[in-house]
């Protein structure tokens, strides 16, 4: 294991450096330091505010859905859980298309509202940003909270039943304490994800009042070319992330989201029709909210898939290669880091791993560009750099899945392994990989999906014949070709969900 620990520490150091060095490169290259503008502080306030509201709403809405999923058994439950996870791995451009189709002014929601004589709602502005963030992150919250529910031991529910607990008693004495332990961690993870929001705020923000820090970084870079300001904003974002990550070490973070979802805890307190009704409504509404936008994009795109030009398919192939490579690399690195993080004094590794949630992809990409420039043609390295950034950005999720599972593994079997002199590669082959197969599969699937949908730094580096599918999708939109763009969006959804499903399923059936 000591070799594993050493590799893990080395990887964690590289990751930490990967977050700081590009930032330094950008700062070093800056021409002047004009400091932050008043509008930047406005952006910081807006970022924190919307992240707070988005995280709170995601968690609040996830609780009834998670409870319903945890205590109901019905046909297709597994499929519902898989599909409910879809928005989280959906490429932002595609999701925005879908959200606009549903909540836009000619979408079903507003048609319905107008039909019954109500004011139509607008999807743009601060509430549009929050809506989109809830759409993305509520599935994650649901998934994590379902696990909390399933962690309530069956014996306790049996005891509760034998004591004649009502639904309310069960909630007060068993479920509420669980929620109090789980929810702060879930909130924090989602809060962090929302602080780096960029594309959502761009498309739905509605104007200069809804500017996030990441958007301010984008402006500083691409329009003002104020590298000093960009670096400062990037550092600000990182500090925000570091604070949250250190806080998160103190909180009971939800254990790995790769753990099993398929167990239904038998319940004796929730058989009444009112409770059943409540659960059905919760699941039904969640499905409508989360699946309708995806379904509309799929429906719109289906007609043009067969006539898509070759460039789209090549783009899809390139995205697939990046996705699979990112998945394999991220899980290997995360495994090494998890080994080191669960050893004494490994806390900083977890912090470094979580921190990259808050890293600005734009600062990261530009910094790497500057670092690569003196030694090689950045265009040649476009795909590797894209891969690298995706690996760094995927690590926090992979670590979240792996570290708790690794802790359990060490708690249960470390003594046995040590007493049998089982270590190094033999340990990895005979114990580590088989025991961590599910969280590894989940982490690989998630990273692959996120990488497949990432527009990211490829736009900074690429030459046209290196375009990934999201970039091609963007190009189509930029050439008046909305129909083909929608077909490409369908392809992108299929790719993202497909790689996720394959990795996750594969790890279960293996």
């Amino acid at each position: 294991m000591t070799l594993g620990v050493r590799i893990g520490v080395a990887v964690a150091s590289v990751v930490a450096a990967a977050l700081v060095v590009p930032l330094g490169a950008v700062a070093w290259r800056a021409d002047g330091w004009d400091g932050l503008r008043p509008s930047d502080w406005g952006a910081l306030r807006f970022t924190l505010g919307q992240a707070m509201v988005s995280a709170a709403l995601s968690v609040l809405l996830a609780v009834p859905v998670a409870r319903a999923l945890a205590r109901r058994r019905f046909a297709g439950r597994g499929a519902v859980i898989l599909l409910l996870g879809a928005p989280f791995i959906l490429p932002v451009i595609v999701a925005v298309l879908g959200l606009v189709a549903v909540f836009g002014r000619s979408g079903p929601v507003n048609t319905l509202l107008t039909a019954v004589g109500l004011e139509p709602v607008s999807i743009y502005g601060a509430h549009g940003v929050v809506l989109a963030h809830v759409f993305f992150n509520m599935p994650l919250a649901t998934r994590l909270i379902v696990q909390g529910w399933q962690a309530i031991p069956g014996e306790r529910l049996r005891l509760a039943a034998s004591l004649g607990f009502t639904t309310r008693d069960t909630f007060r004495l068993l479920e509420w304490p669980m929620l109090r332990a789980v929810v702060p961690g879930v909130f924090l993870v989602i809060f962090l994800i929302c602080t780096t929001s960029f594309a959502v705020a761009l498309a739905l923000g509605g104007g200069p009042n809804a500017t996030t820090v990441e958007l301010a970084i984008y402006e500083a870079f691409r329009f003002d070319f104020d590298l000093g300001r960009a670096a400062m904003l990037g550092a600000l974002q990182l500090i925000l992330g570091a604070t949250a990550a250190v806080l998160s070490l103190r909180l009971a973070l939800p254990s790995g989201f790769g753990a099993g979802q398929d167990r239904v805890v038998p319940r004796w307190d929730s058989q009444g029709w009112a409770v059943r009704m409540q659960d059905s409504v919760a699941i039904g509404l969640a499905c409508a909210f989360l699946l309708l936008p995806v379904a509309i994009v799929l429906g719109d795109g289906i007609g043009h898939v067969t006539t898509l030009p070759a460039a789209v398919w090549w783009g899809a192939l390139r995205s697939l290669v990046i996705a699979v490579a990112a998945a394999l690399l991220t899980t290997s690195l995360a495994l090494a880091m998890a080994i080191a993080a669960t050893r004494p004094h490994g806390g900083w590794i977890e912090v470094a791993g979580t921190l990259s949630v808050a890293a600005s992809p734009l600062v990261l990409g530009t910094g790497l560009f500057l670092l690569v420039l003196p030694v090689a043609n950045p265009v040649v390295l476009a795909l590797p750099v894209t891969l690298f950034v995706n690996v760094v950005l995927g690590l926090p999720f992979a670590l979240r899945a792996l570290i708790p599972a690794m802790r359990d593994l060490i708690r249960d079997y470390d003594r046995l392994s040590a007493s049998l002199n089982l270590s190094g590669w033999a340990w990895l082959r005979l114990v580590g990989l088989p025991r961590l197969r599910r969280p590894l599969g989940f982490a690989a699937g998630l990273t692959a999906a996120l990488a497949a949908g990432d527009l990211g730094v490829i736009a900074l580096f690429a030459s046209p014949d290196q375009a990934t599918l999201p970039l091609v999708l963007y190009q189509l939109m930029g050439s008046y070709r909305m129909d083909e763009a929608k077909a490409a969006a369908l392809l992108l959804i299929a790719l993202s969900l497909g790689v996720f499903w394959l990795f996750e399923r594969g790890s279960r059936d293996a």
Binding site: S39, G125, G205, G206, E219, A311, L381, F461, Y480
Partner: protein, 337 residues
């Protein structure tokens, strides 16, 4: 959607370059290719880039390699180290900043007899196409389009407009300059009047235009020539540009040669190629824009149907640069009210 694009050289390219592209290399060339930095839309399969590449390579026995992305930030990151020989697609409103990098050489191209509504005296940047900023509308949703900017401001607030952010997009910046040219000191008030009608401000043109065609907006900030796309490629006559009495802001896209190019002769011959008919005739349907030097009778038929603004507004590059902070501030303050 039918394909308006005549040439698809990418399909050939793909076969030969995909595998190396996946492994690391951009594109393999026998001799040193002419490296052209271009915006993403320009170099993509659906932009004018591939056809221009084919046309140029036909008579130069050389190879063009496009590198796409953000032109100016990239160039400034690279500085003297840049591998670019030519940069194409830079807008006049950004030209001054580009000039200040000191990385460009004079173009040496004869820019008299252009078919543009403005004088051209710039010796660094050669114009290759131009367009006038305009609000597109759907005749099914807007029956009586505003005929002036002032009328647009007075339109009822349930008119839904999408625009682009002047801080992130060239068309958005053009709008901000346009409004300043029309309203002067009252620009901030004008923004405040426009604000209730603005559904959303997007980062770039693509998102805005997508929302418009999806029916999310009644009007969208775009170009007079957008109409040509709908007429020619979709045979749709319901998408029109609203023509304003005050005139329309002109956006000119340019090409320029890098002083540090290691193939100055080839770069120069490309610049000379820009204003030739072979290049210019690709522009109308390749970039859905007005060629900088092509007689009106050589334009595709559909272009005759386009609205003709009476007046062309443009700030010369140095002036546009000087005004930039002012007009962006007016946008921010006007919308924040």
């Amino acid at each position: 959607m039918s394909s308006p694009h005549p040439v698809r050289p990418m399909e050939r390219d793909m076969k030969t370059t995909l595998i190396p592209a996946l492994i690391l290399t951009a594109s393999a060339a026998s001799a040193e290719p002419l490296t052209i930095y271009a915006p993403d839309y320009f170099g993509s399969e659906w932009g004018p880039g591939p056809a221009i590449k084919t046309a140029f390579e036909a008579h130069c026995a050389c190879e063009i390699e496009y590198v796409t992305g953000d032109l100016l930030p990239r160039l400034r990151l690279e500085g003297e180290r840049t591998r670019a020989d030519v940069m194409i697609g830079l807008n006049t409103d950004d030209a001054e900043r580009a000039r200040q990098t000191g990385l460009f050489a004079d173009h040496g191209v004869d820019t008299r007899d252009l078919t543009m509504p403005i004088e051209w005296t710039d010796t660094t940047f050669v114009p290759f196409n131009w367009g006038q900023t305009a609000f597109m509308y759907d005749t099914a949703r807007v029956e009586t389009p505003p005929t002036s900017f002032a009328a647009l401001l007075e339109a009822p607030d349930d008119l839904r407009i999408v625009i682009q952010d002047p801080r992130t997009s060239v068309s958005g910046l053009a709008l901000a300059l346009w409004m300043y040219a029309v309203f002067g000191e009252e620009t901030e008030d004008a923004w405040a009047k426009l604000a209730p009608k603005i559904t959303t401000v997007t980062r770039g043109w693509s998102e805005s235009y997508g929302m418009f065609t999806e029916g999310e907006a009644d009007m969208v900030l775009s170009y007079v020539t957008s109409e040509a796309y709908h007429i020619i490629a979709e045979e749709d006559l319901t998408k029109k540009a609203a023509i304003f009495d005050e005139g329309h802001y002109v956006m000119v896209e340019t090409a320029a040669k890098l002083a540090g190019s290691d193939q100055p002769d080839l770069a120069q011959s490309f610049l000379d190629f820009v204003l030739t008919e072979a290049f210019q005739s690709i522009i109308p349907e390749g970039n859905w824009s007005m060629p900088a030097k092509l007689p009106a009778d050589q334009l595709p038929e559909g272009f005759a149907l386009l609205g003709k603004p009476e007046k062309a507004i443009i700030y010369p590059a140095p002036e546009a640069e000087a005004l930039r902070e002012t007009v962006v501030a007016a946008f921010e303050a006007g919308l924040a009210r």
